[in-house]
Symmetry: C2
Subunit: 351 residues, 2 copies
């Protein structure tokens, strides 16, 4: 598979299907693993890093459960391609910027993906549209079990799986649920939600993970601790708050439909008008307008926009994607803003 194919074929997690997908954009679980007998990535000698990469690559490519898995060594990819993978949520920014021998593997649907030699020797994740923690865990558990038959994971009786950062020790698990909460942002009740989420030991992040701003009214909540509990318990605890947030957001949306209908329709339609008309648009503005469009589709205020189109645009309108779609490097943000506006106009039937 070539990276160009990824630009036209967006991952299934953007389909807009799945339980509660009007509010839960996607569910993601990842596991951190390290091969026994090697130092962690930052402490390993270059030849060890290369050896780790080779062993993991072989094990991943031999996986029966994912015959359509593609593996790339990132030393062979351009900077643009790596940022493209960041925008696809397939690799982290750190993994893109690293200079080590490292890799990325993913299935065609992008449901299962693996980073080799990021913070840990292996980070593997399963991402699904909507609220599907059990499905994610079942798929990921199967991949983990299959790999464990080929590789000895660093593990201690006392702590569980050993990881580069102590916060991941134990299960090496992080469960992340990406929520679209435009109505709670509008009503400003989002602050209460964050406070509540923080109190039960969950972290809140933006669309592109740790340290990123919440754009497009997307919030990622995830567990902070991965130690001392069985994996399925962590999945349960980390996601038990989600149905409550979903119900708050639904109530806030109902309130908009009731008391603020005109303002809601006005904001949604203006956003669509901008998406269909602008000749230059920053990434931030496009996220803002797409968020309102997504809300409008789900509330039945908009009926001539396809949900999958809107969902995909959140990813496709990002800088690296635009450059891949245009098949050229566009260094100037101002020029990207023009390309972005044209691409979005085309996608949403603009003038």
């Amino acid at each position: 598979m070539k990276i160009e194919d990824l630009a036209s074929e967006v991952g299934d997690w953007l389909s807009g299907d799945g339980p509660d997908s009007d509010i839960v954009f996607s569910t993601r679980i990842r596991l951190a693993r390290n091969i026994e007998g090697y130092p962690f990535v930052t402490k390993a000698a270059p030849e060890q890093v290369g050896e780790i990469e080779a062993r993991l690559r072989d094990a991943i490519q031999a996986l029966d459960l994912a015959p359509d898995m593609t593996y790339w060594n990132l030393l062979e990819s351009s900077e643009l391609d790596r940022y493209f993978l960041v925008e696809q949520h397939l690799i982290s920014k750190e993994h893109a910027q690293s200079e080590l021998c490292r890799g990325i593997a993913f299935t065609r649907s992008e449901s299962l993906s693996m980073m080799v030699n990021e913070e840990d020797h292996l980070r593997m994740q399963v991402m699904q549209p909507g609220f599907q923690p059990e499905t994610c865990w079942a798929k990921l558990d199967a991949a983990d079990t299959a790999l464990a038959q080929r590789l000895p994971w660093a593990w201690s009786e006392r702590f569980g799986y050993l990881t580069a950062c102590p916060t991941n020790v134990g299960t090496g698990m992080r469960v992340s649920v990406m929520l679209h909460l435009p109505a709670l942002v509008w009503s400003r009740d989002i602050v209460k939600v964050f406070n509540a989420v923080g109190k039960i030991g969950m972290a809140v992040r933006g669309l592109y993970g740790e340290g990123t701003q919440a754009t497009g009214d997307f919030y990622q909540i995830s567990n902070q601790a991965s130690l001392g509990k069985a994996e399925d318990r962590i999945v349960h605890t980390a996601t038990s708050v989600v149905p409550q947030i979903v119900s708050y957001e639904r109530k806030a949306r109902d309130a908009l439909l009731g008391k603020k209908r005109v303002e809601l329709e006005d904001r949604v339609w203006r956003a669509v008008g901008i998406l269909r008309s602008a000749r230059s648009m920053s990434s931030e503005e496009s996220m803002h307008c797409l968020s309102l469009a997504r809300l409008g589709v789900h509330l039945g205020v908009l009926n001539d926009l396809n949900l999958r189109t809107v969902n995909e645009l959140f990813v496709l309108s990002q800088p690296a994607h635009l450059q891949k779609l245009e098949s050229r490097e566009i260094a100037e943000p101002a020029e990207r803003d023009i390309v972005r506006a044209a691409f979005i106009r085309e996608a949403v039937g603009g003038a």
Copy 2:
């Protein structure tokens, strides 16, 4: 003719035709006249006011040169109807608010119109699209001559025509040119234009005359003095600055097309996107967006919007027009904003 007919049939001065009509919206000349032997309106007794109204009404209705003239006594009209006439530029706000016996006459094309018992016994005006001072003056002169055969105007050898306000003494003439100057506003050179215009004794006003704000980038320039010169000299002096302003605006537009093309297209198209999408829109915002749309049509940036539609919307989207078009009183501005947005969307092919 009924007032309802005026709502669907907009005056020819909005046609968008006429010389330099990309920049000169309309040219208007008015004359102030008073009947000899009566006090000015504010000093006249009620029965005199009624007598003046009757004499003028008879003379106006007998005019051969305007057989399609409609005459209304404003005591018989509703407040809404009177504001409707203000928005059509047929009467002044003061004339709408007065409680005296007074009238308004206008031809079907609204080219020629007359206010009876406004500040003076008679105010008659001719309004034409584009830059047409000579045509305006020729038509107005003909009407004045015809009326003078039936009515003795208050006149003094020393001062000329006598008027209620000394600023109108002499010819009783005011020449007003309505200019659309979005590019000069954009480049901020508009201030220089105003200073230059002020120095040669001209006044600058907004779209709805004295004391009104300049909305939609429209500026009305008019002479301040009407004394000491023959009428055609005043027309000439008052309009001699117009070609220069027109050329400044053209240069500013060329600069936008050259150096700021993307920003220009972006602003114009966003404005159209808002006009086609918004569910609620204030009068001020609609004027702003219509101004950009008008600029876009004239610069060839927009090609799927009709110029006459845009020009008419400046008037049709005003509060009294919206209420007449809806055939009901809408007291709440918030409700008018909804009606306005729907009306504009419909007119510009919105979603």
